[in-house]
């Protein structure tokens, strides 16, 4: 079992902070280069991706201390999964509509 119940060590915290900072810089760089045409599908995509929080809900769901915690996790799984499913599907639908040239050929 991963030790998510153990108290975090100082080293964990620092490593996580480093990851957070690197991810911020990477994110800012990546998003800066996203085509302006695609800002709407970008939003639905990042939305779906950040719903990887479903993983956190699953971890809590696997080891709930009481039924209150269990149900909070169940609701969270349902909410996050609906975002995951509809997020990727809508992004696909939107991207399918973008055509480069007249006559409707897809690029």
């Amino acid at each position: 079992m991963p030790a998510e119940h153990a108290t975090l060590t100082m080293q964990d915290i620092l490593v996580n902070l480093l990851i957070f900072l690197l991810a911020s810089f990477l994110g800012l760089e990546l998003i800066r280069h996203v085509s302006r045409l695609l800002h709407t599908p970008l939003m639905s995509l990042t939305n779906a991706i950040s719903s990887v929080s479903v993983v956190a809900a699953l971890i809590v769901l696997a080891n709930p201390r009481n039924s209150f915690i269990l149900w909070l996790a169940v609701i969270a799984v349902a909410l996050a999964m609906s975002n995951v499913i509809s997020g990727f599907m809508i992004t696909e639908r939107i991207l399918l509509m973008f055509r480069r040239r007249k006559g409707g050929e897809r690029e």
């Binding site: 996580n16 995509l45 909410l79 599907m89």
Partner: protein, 460 residues
């Protein structure tokens, strides 16, 4: 290889796929591949988690996934493109509530054995999550027009909002000092919920592109904070990517309006203002033209620029506009579209609507490109946009719009302005453009007017 190592490797793979998926969004050509990469990353992350953590209540898990699918799939399949901003607000609400609920569950799970660092992260995660939830719900209600899009303004509004936020933050700090004071948790949660509600109630409809981007950023950041609490690096990476995406989009929107974050969040712009501008000058008259007059002008045109705004979405006029483009192109006219960054109700809104109507995306020009072209334009047709074309932004230092980058529609030889009525735009400012000698005002529903112009052109 131990299970633990395998799971961590799968998490790394998922994180890499998420990064690649955003990278692929830099071009339309690769964007679909990016979406598939993101989906694959998500699948891998979920499978890895289920490998590492034995869920006993598989019935509940399956039930939850099923409910998620029942909510998610019909929305994804049936959603009209004009309603994408609403659905985005809704997904921010769902995402942030999920994160906030897991944070709450985690508090009770760890209780009373919570160290201060974990509590500090949990508290900020919950405050951010819950305020994003109610804020996004209000944004959804405003976009769906369940409630008025006008900002709710009352004396001392910002004081009340900040007071409520203060209660949330102070309860959070008290919890960090002593994490076992569980009675403070509901106080903090309710204050955060109330603050999100008050914050977005005070923001007007046309500021929604910025608000949605900010809420996007908050939802991502709260997911990243949850990653800190669970020591889950994948969650930190994915949440941070989402957070920075929302942040950049919000910055772009603010820049496109020449306003600051603070001004958007607390400025209450868009409230009905005392008629300062209108009362100032003499009564000016506007000549109303008919769709037939417009068709006559278009017959002699060689370059036509179409400037869409929220009104095109509201009237569902994108297909009619594409028909106009087709008729003009059949006559040898070059047709381009000028897209202002804040046109519509979310970043990129106009591009999606026009893509839906099968307008080729190389005909969609960004503001800078379009502004170079306006002086050569024979006709500029404004469909449901207003403030983003107002020359007062360039010329009148006393105007609330002054300094905002606009589309230089007035430089076209003829301006056709399709508008429902002579009402002022969102910013409550009269548009100089209406009174210019080379402007033709056509009043009516955008879709009907455009269709009438098409009919007239076909007859000619």
């Amino acid at each position: 290889m131990s299970m633990e190592v395998l799971v961590q490797l799968l998490y790394v793979l998922a994180a890499v796929l998420f990064v690649l998926s955003l990278k692929a969004m830099s071009e339309v050509r690769t964007a679909r591949w990016g979406n598939w990469a993101g989906s694959a990353g998500m699948l891998i992350a979920i499978v890895a988690t289920l490998l590492a953590h034995r869920v006993e209540r598989y019935d509940l898990l399956m039930g939850a996934v099923l409910v998620g699918a029942i909510i998610g799939i019909p929305i994804a399949l049936k959603l009209p493109m004009t309603a994408v901003p609403q659905r985005t607000a809704m997904s921010h609400a769902f995402g942030s509530l999920a994160v906030a609920l897991v944070g709450t569950a985690k508090y009770y799970q760890l209780y009373p054995d919570i160290d201060r660092f974990t509590m500090a992260v949990l508290a900020s995660e919950m405050i951010l999550g819950y305020l994003t939830f109610t804020g996004s719900c209000i944004a959804f209600a405003k976009l769906q027009e369940l409630i008025s899009g006008k900002p709710l303004i009352y004396p001392g509004r910002n004081f009340v909002s900040l007071l409520v936020l203060g209660v949330a933050v102070l309860s959070g700090i008290a919890l960090v000092v002593d994490p076992t004071q569980s009675a403070l948790l509901p106080v903090m949660i309710i204050a955060a919920l109330l603050f999100g509600f008050l914050l977005v109630m005070g923001i007007g409809g046309a500021d929604m592109p910025t608000v949605i981007a900010i809420l996007n950023s908050y939802a991502g950041l709260s997911a990243a904070a949850l990653g800190f609490v669970l020591n889950n690096k994948l969650l930190i990476v994915a949440g941070t990517l989402d957070g920075s995406s929302g942040f950049i989009l919000a910055m772009l929107m603010c820049k496109a309006m020449n306003r600051s974050f603070t001004n958007v969040l607390f400025g209450g712009v868009g409230a009905p203002m005392p008629a300062a501008g209108a009362a100032g000058g003499e009564a000016r008259t506007v000549v109303a033209y008919s769709p037939d007059d417009v068709a006559a002008i278009l017959e002699g045109a060689r370059l036509v620029m179409i400037v869409p705004g929220y009104g095109m979405a509201a009237a569902q006029a994108q297909h009619a506009v594409k028909e106009l483009q087709d008729v003009l192109e059949a006559r040898g006219v070059t047709v381009k579209y000028a897209i202002h960054p804040v046109a519509g109700r979310m970043p990129g809104h106009m591009n999606v609507l026009l893509a839906e109507a099968q307008v080729a995306y190389d005909q969609l020009l960004e503001m800078d490109e379009a502004n170079l072209l306006f002086p050569e334009c024979d006709v500029a047709i404004v469909v449901g946009a207003n403030d983003i074309t107002n020359p007062a932004a360039r010329t009148r230092p006393d105007s609330p719009l002054y300094g905002m980058p606009i589309l230089d529609v007035d430089k076209a030889r003829t301006v056709v302005f399709i508008k429902r009525s002579l009402a002022a735009g969102f910013a409550g400012v009269d548009n100089e453009l209406f009174y210019l000698p080379h402007t033709m005002m056509v009043f009516g529903d955008a879709k009907k007017v455009v269709t009438d112009i098409v009919t007239a052109l076909k007859k000619a």
